[in-house]
Subunit: 326 residues, 2 copies
């Protein structure tokens, strides 16, 4: 089976690639495991190829048709579309966000539509499609009300994928991801970047700024579970999804204070005390518009699961990154 | 004040133009009436200019940037964007629907964004943004779930207008119109065309096909009220709308059987008996996915009103069209 990952050089893209290569197969639309014959990693920078002959790296601008036509083969059976401009950057650069989060997503669907077969396509979406006066737990039929350009662009991509699927141009699924925490590496331009930073930086012996109130409730998912969910989402039976191709993934609802307490529990006072509280009105406004939890019974019925405690998430991060606690 | 109507040669566009010319003024963003200095009617066919020197007609493809740049002046203060591909046609010709209902709407917002001022822009949307398992009365926070490409395109245009308004590029409002009935003229490619046809054709002495079950509930608005609502929607105080620029307009919830009974009451048995029932699965599927009523308390608080009885709507149609009952 030929598989494409857009954003293949990114954090999730690389983790997903590694996991797919390790598994060596993916279920096809009939539920039968098929060996992974080719894995295309497309990004603006050349992705790491893991020294694996099944990997083909492609470098290009995903908003250009010929780039996508090169990446999507006549027999590409599965596409994970992870390339995106993150929330903070899409708010700062409206045109760039529209180009990548909207135009490139639509172009990808259009190139699939040209192909004779019907590829399975996974889009990722976000808590940012919600906003305004929200119930404590967002339900499947709660109206979208994005309060950022990123959220609006993701909501539009969801509508496009649903309609392209309904018309039979693709077999699509949208997974609304909770905020991913703990991401390794450096801070990024996402408004939610601190949700990883307040764990990662203190564990690295560095100061971390917490820009929101301690009572701010976040809806989180670990990188491990995110990768598991992406693969499970692709392998889901399309018929079980029906017309509604958008799925709220299970996550963990925690306040920032609870996150810090979990870090204190796992890594001790000296680490947790490296967090400095410095409110940032711009970030509070964006993050504060997102839901702190959503109903995930549909995803659970379809076999997807979240995590149980944020302390466990931190422990998994420490294990994955080989961090030695002082 | 300079005003633009896209779809200015269409049925609603022409009625709106006539009403604006008769009123002679529109309230500006501060609520002060300003004389109508120029009314641009843009459409693919040349619009009737009412022999009025204030009218400028423009012919062109609204999905082309130079056409919109010609139509939207540096001081165009109000835009009614009515141009659209109707539901049945957007389902039959996917690319055309995307081009006009999505791309042209976005281009219009982009051209406004280039202008130094912030024009008020009215988009029209539709019951077709809803679908799936709906409550008996759709609420303001009921999730959008379009079951047609037309509905998906309208939902996307709503999201765009909300975000362009939030960013201050335009001062936008979306009015979700109930199905307009009774439209004069001939049937069109809208799936809801019969909602006018089953009144209009029998009154013209012709047979009319009713393609849906008599129990099908429609959410209707007369042309008179639609025009009133478009103008009221433009004149609404933007601050009162806040972040949520989409408004469900008040309408009349009636079943097809009730519509036929109203026609019988107003025009007699001979007229009502010209309706032939011939179910059409394609139309039933599209129309059946639309809500039969929605909560309109927000629009009512903002001063918008619907009608009271479908018999009155028929009587208004008969008066407007100068029909003499036999």
């Amino acid at each position: 089976m030929k598989v494409l990952i857009t954003g293949g050089a990114g954090f999730l893209g690389q983790r997903l690639a590694r996991e797919l290569l390790a598994r060596g197969s993916l279920k096809d639309a009939q539920g039968t495991p098929q060996a992974l014959s080719e894995l295309v990693l497309l990004d603006v920078a050349r992705a790491h190829d893991f020294g694996d002959s099944r990997v083909r790296t492609e470098v290009g601008d995903i908003a250009e048709r010929d780039v996508l036509e090169r990446a999507i083969d006549v027999d590409t059976a599965a596409i994970f579309h992870l390339a995106a401009i993150v929330s903070g950057q899409a708010e700062a650069d409206f045109d760039l966000g529209m180009r990548i989060n909207l135009d490139a997503s639509r172009l990808l669907l259009e190139v699939c539509r040209q192909r004779a077969h019907v590829p399975r396509v996974v889009f990722t979406s976000s808590v940012a499609v919600y906003g305004g006066d929200l119930p404590a737990v967002v339900q499947d039929d709660t109206a979208l009300n994005p309060q950022s350009s990123y959220g609006a662009q993701k909501a539009i991509a969801e509508l496009l994928l649903n309609d392209y699927s309904r018309r039979g141009f693709v077999d699509g699924r949208v997974l609304r991801l909770p905020t991913i925490s703990v991401r390794p590496g450096r801070p990024n331009a996402a408004a939610s970047s601190f949700a990883s930073g307040i764990v990662r930086e203190p564990l690295n012996g560095e100061e971390a700024v917490c820009p929101v109130a301690g009572s701010t409730r976040l809806w989180l998912l670990s990188p491990r579970k995110a990768i598991e969910s992406l693969i499970a989402g692709l392998e889901l039976d399309g018929a079980a999804l029906g017309r509604q191709r958008v799925l709220n993934l299970p996550g963990l609802s925690v306040s920032v204070d609870e996150m810090i307490a979990a870090l204190r529990e796992v890594a001790g006072d000296a680490v947790a005390n490296r967090i400095v509280r410095r409110p940032d009105e711009r970030i509070e406004r964006i993050v504060g518009s997102w839901p702190g939890a959503w109903d995930t019974s549909r995803a659970e019925r379809l076999g997807l699961a979240g995590e149980r405690s944020f302390a466990d998430v931190i422990r998994a991060y420490i294990a994955d990154e080989g961090i030695v606690l002082g």
